[in-house]
Subunit: 319 residues, 2 copies
């Protein structure tokens, strides 16, 4: 089983309008509600690919009720811890003409100290039985970055590989705790390390203790550093147009799967196949309307991915 | 007890943004969810005014669960009939700078035949024990206008006065069934009767069988026809700026209360005091941010209302 941990889940609500006109009233079809948050997207991808997965998250209030009902209907195995605050909502209004999404992300409620402890304890317990653990997304108020570092350290000490896709201080804490992999995007890399060159930022995270660093660089593909410091880049030779939301989560799903498979074989993950699958899953997620889904042709995309181990400035300079 | 019937309830969800920018992502505070629909607004006003009220509506799905939880938290006595379809949602995004609301109204699910029958039967049973009944808002697919006429006829035959604030064919059916009062706004009057002159439209509804007709004309106040065909107009001598949503529902609450009080005294309602209260409650609702609330100073506004029984063209011509 692969465990995904979503410290700050959201109920994703999506409506489609013909043309969004501020200040006007629109008649719309019933909106679509999904259990969301980055770890849920990772779990959705792995579940759709037939992998055994459990999504751990907190739920509260009426939105948490809807979150739990949708997760159950989707068939994703979950462990949902009840909390006092309502699950935050993320509202997307998609304009059919332009394809643009107007998004409202609720900040969400704080976790009480005992709720944060319960989440971390459950993550350690379930994670101790997992083949790999993915920790994904922002932290709610009340959950400190250091606690993520401690969770990564605990799981790593038990031999469970962890991939952390968390921002800012939590990213640094996960790297220091020796995460098997970290997966920042370009902005997160700059924000956490202060380095504008992705390769320099990735090396900084590795120097802190992260074993594998996968930096997702959008249309520039994936920059991957292996534990020996070897760098390579995986990218599709063409630009895909679509919905980039969830592309990073698809990459995390690929990384978690590679970690789990390597752990089963008591080997280090093969860097090139990890990079190829992460780039292909990420690209195939762009082709899908909702986060947490892969285009069925992702295997064909994987064959198209070019691997380049002669990393030079064109991949490492900011755009 | 005054019964309100809401055939097509909605969960009203409101978010505030500093400036709504289509295509962008906004961080927002937790949205506010309310049990909504016109009959719920009527019940909310009466409940806040200390009157005994019951709000009858259907609920379904996760949004229905939230609807029921909020109604219970608000303390409004309800009778909520479970249905298979999800309660529709109405989304309002309020721009703090302009004050403008961008609204998305879900069309909502159809009622199954047995669900429509159960709603009508419950309305007849609860309404038979009520001092007055308000039927408010649009009809969901699956509920026919004729059924509203039959409900009005049944209650009227039992001596229970009914105020109907329903559009189109249902308005005509309620008038034909001898509703004690109907409360169209200017657009609804034109749509249902084809008359562009509000006085002519109101007289048409009375000719069909409605006893009292109250036409809400926005800043032009209320045009009221009593059962003898006497017309008067009640209006505030100044324009109020605010949120007109729920102003008509406040007027219906005032009408239902006047009908209940007159029924207790076995008298016809006093037209002038009915008109004054309907105009004052409607105006005071404009001053409040959410539908279903009256400004605490509505008694002072009532004293300001001018009553004019010399109706001429300036009130009856379309603007």
């Amino acid at each position: 089983m692969i465990l995904t941990v979503t410290p700050n889940p959201a109920l994703d609500l999506t409506w489609h309008v013909d043309r969004l006109a501020p200040g006007e009233t629109h008649r719309v079809d019933t909106g679509h509600g999904r259990a969301g948050g980055k770890g849920l997207n990772v779990a959705r991808v792995l579940h759709a690919e037939g992998r055994e997965v459990t999504a751990l998250a907190t739920v509260g209030g009426a939105s948490g009720h809807e979150f739990a009902a949708e997760a159950a209907a989707s068939g994703i195995p979950t462990r949902l811890l009840p909390v006092a605050g309502s699950t935050r909502r993320s509202i997307a209004i998609v304009d059919r003409r332009s394809g643009e999404a107007t998004v409202l992300n609720e900040r969400g409620a704080a976790l009480a100290a005992h709720e944060a402890s319960a989440l971390l304890a459950e993550a350690a317990t379930l994670g101790g039985r997992a083949r790999a653990v993915a920790i994904s997304g922002s932290l709610p108020p009340g959950l400190h970055a250091d606690a993520i570092g401690e969770l990564v350290a605990t799981l790593t000490a038990h031999g469970v590989p962890v991939v952390a896709d968390v921002p800012g201080a939590a990213l640094l804490a996960a790297a220091r705790a020796g995460a098997a992999a970290v997966k920042p995007n370009r902005d997160e890399l700059v924000e956490a390390t202060g380095e504008h060159d992705p390769l320099a930022g990735a090396r900084r995270l590795q120097a802190l203790g992260a074993r594998i660093v996968v930096a997702s660089l959008g249309a520039d593909g994936m920059l991957v550093l292996d534990p020996e410091g070897r760098a390579l880049r995986a990218r599709l030779g063409r630009t895909l147009h679509g919905n980039a939301t969830g592309a990073g989560d698809a990459a995390v799903a690929a990384i978690a799967l590679a970690l789990a498979e390597a752990s089963d074989a008591s080997e280090a993950p093969d860097l090139e196949s990890l990079a190829r699958r992460a780039a292909a899953w990420s690209a195939s997620a762009v082709l899908m309307p909702l986060a947490g889904e892969l285009h069925p042709d992702h295997a064909a995309l994987a064959r198209e991915i070019a691997i380049d181990d002669d990393i030079d400035t064109d991949a490492t300079e900011p755009e």
